[in-house]
Subunit: 338 residues, 2 copies
DNA sequence: GCATGTTTGTAGATCGGTCTCCATGTGTAA
DNA sequence: TTACACATGGAGACCGATCTACAAACATGC
């Protein structure tokens, strides 16, 4: 007994039931000009009676799909939770729906696929994507990028103040008396000098501060490779040395979690300071208690969505929002030991 | 200087460039029958030259959008990471794209909005959604539900073996010598008896096992309310009592994290056993080291996506996949203390 | 009463594909 | 050579909305 897929209710069905034209129904649902109260009532009754819902595909073909696409690198990244939450907040109450698309690396494929008519606008967290390519994309569809330090012409950016944030971390560690500080960050590709990614900036700040403090020869950058296991091994090797670091400045909280795991595995919990970035909910957990930089991820997500909505209203000049940062000092960063 | 939004390349442009009809181009991109090698080459050249990409909206209007929708309750839920990862794996290599939609509660709105033509099929994690409503939805679009113990006629289900999983937890705690075991779970709505949600089943198993063990009067169910703060307060109140529980069986790992936080805040870390469910990546972290039930979330996500793809191929009889569970014993669950 | 302006509702083109015929060309069997 | 099957490409309807132009109805001012 196979059930035939039931064709859904179209605008024509509503028009017929209400005894009006399709155009009239369209006007009612779009709240357009030229509808008498009497007709509105009849049409709305018909819509309710039939349970009509406009087809997104048909709408998108002519006008807009009322969908906003939010591309994120990996659902598991804790920071993304903040971004998504913020974006959702900003979109609530508007006629727009948020749609998420997970992507890998520079996300060209995912971004293209969203631009293929799925959504009216795009918010993306894609630090590696080529700026020129994005400019071109932005000629086809409104775009807001999160976490880029570039100054684009056709899209908006929302970015944290990584210079201040990373600076606050370094200040904090120096004040505690740390000198042998390691920076644990993302792979090369994500931190290439001049690439303008948040992690490139944080890395640069680390280097600069170390140098300014006369600790240039203690500069050490460890990269997390793709596997968590690799990061763990790297961290352990680092901690096994005689001149092991007294502090680890991790590029973000997820990396910091790996660092904490490495420190714990080496039996050094509490004896090596660890700091994170993003102030994710885990950082607040008493068993983690991670010093981290709050860059207002929720606010960033909300701003990005708001900017996108503005663009959909017609704005074309680029905007840029820089989120302020606050260092949240917690138990994971103590004075140097041993 | 406002840049006009550039109209994108359509199938007609390609047809003109290649000197063939629109229908011919359509055939080529769909890999349909009736295309000579010569024409294929010309058309493909034109496509490449113009950088043509078919409009999803237009395609969806007639045929399919090649998008699969995955509805998830909350991006922050750790278990969802596994589901999404699995689904992504299963979809990779097919012409389909995965699209995520966050939802709240029963998700009617979100599910409707996906069914409005955005996607060709739906995977959803929505334990609260009414079964009859889903049956109706499934007449309009293929549906696969994750985490439901019902036996639907028109949609597929992928569900963990909650009876075995929760049973394994209780066995484990009993073996360790625990008697005063509290079950920390979701709000009432999610655990209503007979609702068939995973959490309702886990709760029932808890009750049954306690009763079978002659511990009926020690049964105690604490619910996490919406706020994390509330859960924490509840846990602390629980732990402040003279007859405080020696073990907390949490409904899933995120709840277990709250429980661990509560235990830590009460200064009882290591003295109260805590178990979770889902075996999320956090459970493996040495600072958390949480005993948890592995129900193969990645596999569940992958199965769900595969089932949906099968339905898109034409299958209509309902299928059901029950994932096996394995208890991962870690440091968070020790023998009763004090 | 008539010209004019304002509402109100409709007809029909349009968006960019898919898909069902149908016409033509080519190869093969009788 | 004729008949027929089959391979190939195209014409045109269609999907379900939006939106412009326009017609009809109605109100207003002189």
């Amino acid at each position: 007994m196979s059930i035939a897929r039931s064709r859904s209710v179209t605008i024509s069905d509503v028009a017929q039931t209400a005894g009006v034209s399709r155009a009239a129904v369209s006007k009612v649902i779009r709240n357009a000009y030229g509808v008498s109260p009497a007709m509105r009532i009849r049409v709305e009754a018909a819509i309710a009676e039939l349970g009509y819902r406009p087809s997104v595909a048909a709408r998108a073909l002519r006008g807009s799909s009322y969908r906003l696409g939010l591309e994120i690198p990996w659902v598991g990244a804790r920071f993304m939770t903040q971004i998504v939450e913020g974006a959702q907040l900003a979109v609530d109450g508007t006629p727009y729906q948020l749609v998420l698309a997970p992507a890998d690396g520079p996300a060209y494929g995912t971004l293209e696929s969203m631009a293929d008519g799925l959504v009216d606008g795009i918010i993306a967290v894609a630090p590696l994507t080529d700026a020129a390519w994005l400019e071109e994309l932005a000629t086809r569809i409104p775009v807001v990028m999160i976490g880029r330090h570039d100054h684009p012409q056709r899209y908006d950016t929302v970015v944290g103040d990584d210079t201040a944030g990373a600076g606050a971390v370094m200040d904090h560690l120096f004040e505690l008396g740390h000198r042998r500080i390691v920076h644990l960050t993302e792979p090369e590709a994500v931190t290439a000098p001049g690439s303008g990614t948040p992690h490139a900036v944080r890395l640069q700040v680390y280097r600069d501060r170390m140098t300014e403090a006369g600790l240039a020869d203690l500069i050490e950058v460890v990269r997390r490779d793709d596997s968590r296991a690799g990061t763990l091994a790297g961290t352990r090797a680092l901690l096994a040395r005689d001149d092991r670091p007294t502090a680890i400045f991790a590029g973000h909280d997820d990396i910091a979690m790996d660092a904490l795991a490495g420190v714990a595995a080496a039996g050094l919990t509490g004896r090596v300071a660890v700091t994170g970035y993003d102030d994710t909910d885990l950082a607040r957990h008493p068993l983690i208690d991670l010093t981290s930089v709050d860059q207002q991820g929720v606010e960033m997500g909300a701003r990005a969505a708001t900017m996108l909505l503005e663009r959909l209203q017609g704005r074309t000049e680029p905007r840029r929002h820089a989120a302020a940062t606050t260092l949240r000092v917690r138990g994971s960063s103590g004075r140097p030991v041993g």
